[in-house]
Symmetry: C2
Subunit: 308 residues, 2 copies
């Protein structure tokens, strides 16, 4: 089978044996592969895989080898392959009404949203939430699922032309995080939750936009990691600031999150037809071009590789 | 009856009518009054009471008027009085084996510990925890209750001579937060939880001392509110940073916390003889002297006013 590996910060296509089945694992014949920013960071040497693997790829859709069972799955690494070996507990049912591409783009976004927004921040339908980075794969999916759940949802983007791009997302309001806020959010009474991928540059604005008992969850620091914090605001407003990365969770925690996310959110995504936004599809052989597009930051939603 | 009120940042003893009983409230004939740093901040004009009251005092022990029922209670303000009117749901049973002074010193410390350490940070017996400000009323009580619960407990103090003062506390280790840390804590593998009253000056050290999945809870900022935060550390270590003040909670939340704290922690404090450390007792008439002593920061444990 063919696999993409990383050598000297470049992707290289190699021929390797199909992995063998073992206890607790399944082999998936891959149909499509979801691309994540973590893959790009790993390629650039800035985000080594916790399992030491030199093969990127955190999510796929496909068929359990030797059956007709269509599934999608969360992987610690190695998803850029024609076949993958995956822990049974990290496999998700194929969502009703999804295409192979959409199913490949689901696991990371779904489980990240479940872990951070639902489990950690405790989103309720009566809450308001800011999703920073509305055009990103995770941001666009988070907006859809939070809105389907009943919350009031504000999305942010980094350039004003992207506001227009977001008109098909179900957000209540989209704003430019460089220029229009936090006044525009404070005029709406602030928010209960902020789901942040920006980091340092917007940290104090985030704190200022949160209502009493507000919660900020940080999963990435795309505008830098460094910020000033005024602890008096944090304690007078009873705020919580939480950080997490899905990739660094133990296999047991990921299994628990996978099962819980399916249990709690599949009914919603299937009944409300919540699907990841797909920016573009690339043939498996064009993985390097897909990562180039991700790097450009001109995409809107998820990039996916299609395996023939 | 006599009450202390605040006028022009000075305490003034005034004669006022005994409050009248109304639905949902009880009148307590006060035996003793616990003193808190919030009283001093309120006197200095820096921490106005949320109910607009000019009378300090957040906790008392005493007897329900017209009965022999001994109790202690949490108050929004007005505790520096011979009689107080208090919401029934904010009344705690008088703990077995406690003196009037000890019972007056209990409600704020118990409920603050319950809210922050048990409810918000989720302390488990297998956890390790740093309690900053080990000689403070809240710090010394937190050390006792966390240790009785089975946790590994480290306490910090601001001067080396206070380490000696803490030898009768059940902490596993006491350190000077100006000089000895965080290396001394990192050598022990870090901690799961930090209960912080210091604030800005120790914030980055707190973050660095936390283990993966660690939680920091901030309830005061005695060394300043301003700090630098590295969000990359927060998310790579999956940290949570939470702030809260008990006083700003709604009456409903305080009622819920009061009942939960009694339910979950009274068995422990009664069976393990966990009591607040009493620094000193002052006659009711000497309230200003008591606040002077609190201001000096030479106390160890709680200061209490005794009503004849």
């Amino acid at each position: 089978m063919l696999s993409w590996i990383i050598e000297n910060e470049e992707l290289k296509l190699v021929e390797t044996p199909i992995p063998e089945k073992s206890d607790g694992y399944e082999i998936i014949k891959v149909s499509a592969i979801g691309i994540n920013r973590a893959d790009l960071l790993q390629l650039e040497g800035m985000y080594p895989s916790p399992d030491g693997s030199n093969s990127p790829g955190l999510e796929v859709s496909g068929t359990i080898m030797g059956t007709n069972n269509k599934v999608c799955a969360l992987l610690p690494s190695g998803g850029y392959s024609e076949y993958v070996r995956v822990l049974k507990d990290h496999i998700l049912p194929f969502p009703k009404g999804y295409s192979d591409l959409e199913a490949a783009a689901l696991p990371e976004a779904l489980i990240t949203c479940y872990f951070n927004i639902f489990e950690n921040a405790g989103l309720k339908p009566q809450h308001s939430i800011i999703i920073h980075g509305a055009t990103s794969g995770i941001g666009s999916f988070a907006i859809k699922i939070c809105k389907a759940y009943g919350a009031t949802v504000y999305g942010s983007v980094g350039t004003t032309d992207k506001i227009e791009l977001c008109k098909n997302l179900p957000a209540d309001f989209i704003f430019n995080y460089h220029t229009e806020w936090p006044p525009v959010i404070k005029d709406k009474g602030g928010v209960d939750i902020i789901f942040d991928i920006l980091g340092g540059g917007n940290f104090e604005k985030n704190i200022s936009a949160l209502k009493k008992n507000g919660r900020m969850i940080s999963i990435a620091v795309m505008t830098g990691a460094s910020a000033h914090i005024n602890l008096a605001s944090v304690l007078m407003k009873n705020l919580s600031i939480m950080g997490s990365t899905l990739r660094s969770q133990t296999a047991e925690k990921k299994a628990e999150l996978t099962q819980s996310a399916v249990h709690h959110l599949y009914p919603l995504i299937e009944s409300e037809k919540v699907k990841p936004v797909i920016d573009s599809e690339f043939p498996f052989a064009d993985a390097p071009m897909a990562l180039e597009r991700l790097k450009s930051r001109n995409h809107f939603g998820k990039l996916v590789l299609k395996v023939d």
